[in-house]
């Protein structure tokens, strides 16, 4: 039987049967013996091709599987925190409860946070202002409230590691702002500002992660890498769908900057001093 001749269901069944048996370790001859002789030559030739395909797909290196798992799980933790934060942001009560918890955790900075909150209340209509600021884009008046709130969040972070977490959350917000700017067609100036903010946020996150890594926090760069990688995936997607060539070119420039920062995180040695060259390519 040749490839040009029509094949019937019995041939297909024989081919599949021999494939299954060979994959479970049986010799091909034993399987072929179960089927008409006219099929033998073609089935043997086709299964040899299948075996070449199987060999072309190696198993992953165990080191890779083990190395990526904590990175992925750090991203899961970040996503869980982000989801909780979004749920809290939805309700003013939840927001106040979150703020109260943070204040309890960082008594020394309570006064600063309370002062900041009081400032917000005096500046506008209190919680409503904070609530509304969540949707604000760069260049809009309420956007300053978002940044004040973030300053407070950084103050309230209990450790360097917690500050890295906070920076990761800020990066997720910057990414969301960039997406919102694109979705709302907010204008070139606001979109460019959102891009610059994202670039700065990434640089600050990476700088902090590199410092922590140099001080012996071996997971810091992996955590930052996940956050930068997630942001970059979204930037790449935005660039691919940007209708305006100028916007696309600008997003691709941002994408390259994020790729450089990813490389920087991958290449940082455990205890190397921060080099000036490593900071090259500022956004």
């Amino acid at each position: 039987m040749t490839a040009e001749q029509p094949h019937d269901d019995a041939f297909f069944e024989a081919l599949e049967n021999c494939r299954r048996r060979m994959r479970s370790g049986e010799p091909l001859a034993a399987c072929l013996a179960l089927h008409p002789r006219v099929y033998h030559e073609e089935i043997a030739a086709l299964l040899a091709v299948g075996a070449r395909v199987a060999q072309a797909a190696p198993e992953p290196a165990p080191a890779f599987v083990a190395r990526f798992e904590p990175v992925l799980l750090a991203a899961v933790d970040e996503a869980r925190r982000e989801a909780r934060a979004q749920r809290n942001e939805l309700s003013p009560v939840g927001r106040l409860r979150g703020l109260a918890g943070a204040l309890r955790a960082r008594a020394a900075l309570r006064a600063a946070a309370v002062a900041l909150l009081a400032g917000l209340v005096l500046a506008g209509s209190g919680v409503a202002v904070v609530e509304a600021s969540g949707d604000a884009l760069p260049g809009e008046p309420l956007y300053r409230v978002t940044r004040w709130r973030e300053t407070a969040e950084l103050w309230l972070a209990r450790s360097d590691s917690a500050r890295l977490d906070t920076r990761q959350q800020f990066l997720a917000r910057r990414t969301l702002e960039l997406e919102r700017a694109a979705a709302r067609q907010a204008g070139a100036a606001r979109a460019a500002e959102a891009e610059r903010n994202l670039g700065r946020e990434v640089r600050q996150l990476v700088d902090r992660a590199v410092r922590l890594r140099e001080r012996g926090d071996t997971r810091a760069t992996a955590r930052a890498l996940t956050a930068v990688h997630t942001a970059r995936s979204r930037v790449t997607q935005l660039a691919a769908t940007a209708p305006d060539p100028e916007r696309r070119s600008s997003l691709l420039r941002l994408d390259r900057f994020l790729a450089a920062q990813e490389r920087r995180l991958r290449e940082v040695p455990p205890a190397a001093p921060t080099s000036g060259a490593a900071r090259a390519g500022r956004w």
Partner: protein, 186 residues
């Protein structure tokens, strides 16, 4: 707990960003997902990068996942992988790399045995030939020879009945055979 219930429970917990559930989901699926990617890419580091991108995208989209069973979960991950591979292969087409790029992965001071070089060339030939198949043919070949799925599982992944899978299986192998034999002609 039955296997189907266990898979459904795992997916439900992963949707809520449960760390343990996601870890188990990753450990159960990373080998097939990696191999699914590796069979289309010459370079192991490319396959690792695409695998990472698949899980990052899966984490971002898990809230929208409606799958309840393990096979539906795998089908979803392969669908993400297909998109990521298409992006990667498009980018490579725009920015071609030197052939046998995987040679860069070997330590410089190690000899390059003939059989390693041959195996690498053979893999590259298979990758090229797979690229010439239709999407359905390629999917069936990957399901059967990379993931070792039977007709029922393959049919569930490609959305075809067993009859159609059998025909695609045979046509794809015959086409691959022709392509690979053509490569060996001087």
């Amino acid at each position: 707990m039955a296997q189907a219930d266990r898979a459904a429970d795992l997916i439900r917990r992963a949707r809520a960003y449960d760390r343990e559930a996601f870890a188990e989901l990753y450990r159960r699926t990373v080998v097939p997902v990696y191999r699914y990617c590796a069979v289309r890419l010459d370079n192991p580091s490319d396959a690792e990068e695409v695998t990472q991108e698949v899980y990052v995208a899966a984490l971002a989209g898990i809230g929208r996942l409606r799958a309840e069973g393990e096979l539906a979960l795998l089908a979803w991950l392969y669908q993400i992988a297909r998109h990521k591979l298409a992006d990667r292969l498009r980018a490579r087409y725009r920015r071609p790399t030197a052939p046998l790029a995987a040679a860069d992965q070997l330590p410089a001071n190690e000899p390059l045995p003939q059989d390693i070089a041959f195996a690498r060339e053979d893999r590259a030939a298979v990758h090229r030939a797979l690229g010439e198949l239709t999407a359905d043919q390629r999917e069936v070949i990957v399901c059967k020879y990379v993931l070792d799925y039977d007709n029922a599982r393959t049919g569930a992944i490609v959305g075809k009945n067993a009859n159609a899978v059998n025909q695609l299986h045979h046509r794809a192998l015959a086409r691959l055979r022709g392509l690979l034999e053509g490569e060996r002609q001087p």
